[in-house]
Amino acid sequence: MTTAVHEGPGSEDVLAVAEDVWMALLGEDGMLVPRAVPTGTPFDTAAWSAATTISGGWQGVVTVELAEALARRLTVRMLALPADQTATDSDVADAVGELVNMVGGNVKSLMPGPSTLSLPAVAAGRAAFARDAALACRVDLSWLDAPVRVSVHVPLGGPR
């Protein structure tokens, strides 16, 4: 877990939100384990990522990055697909988008409002940020031994 200096939600708050979401979706199998990752380390490759933007009383971008295998397993669980069925890319995009919507919506509730939450943007690949975005908070976790990262970025120079 890493917290940068910019004003934003604390790592503990973001961790609690992520744990709540996983637990609600997966029950006792939804236990996330914190993972020690040095600052500046890029997220593991072959990942799915999703981002949602909060604008208004507080401004920031919340992203969730997941290892490919984890994204597929999570989708299978969210859709309650039979064990012999695999999730399609469209299912994974839908599930990962919903995941960031939940995490982002809960982060939004922690920050000053009123503000709006954008529809999620989902990509197969690592999340990329513009130069004018600064990391405010990053939480590295693992679920079933696969990596998960939740990040919050704010406009450079702090929230507007």
Binding site: D20, A24, M78, L79, A80, D91, G97, N101, V103, L119
Partner: protein
Amino acid sequence: MKILIADDSRVMRQIVIRTLRQAGHGGHEIVEAENGRQALELVRTEAPDLVLSDWNMPEMNGIDCLSALRASGSTVAFGFVTSEGSEEMRERAASAGAAFLIAKPFTPEAFDDALRGVI
């Protein structure tokens, strides 16, 4: 009873249907909409008893859908199932005529509590 579930995520519509069942509200007829505009049309053609709607959706969001319903004279019971559970959103939902707001992530108990008042 007929329940209309409006959410742009197919995954979330399925989770809502599953949670309804887990909350002891299985057996209802379910109609699905992918956005607020579709939900608006389906309220007219399907006459559901309850609408469970996401807030953020493309085409038409949930709050605009609710406002359009009320403006057209519809009094259908309407509840939000949304990731935005702040006091501000709850107040906006209530003043637009929503019966409840269930925040994601939710539990079957939260569904049961909310639905008991309207079913």
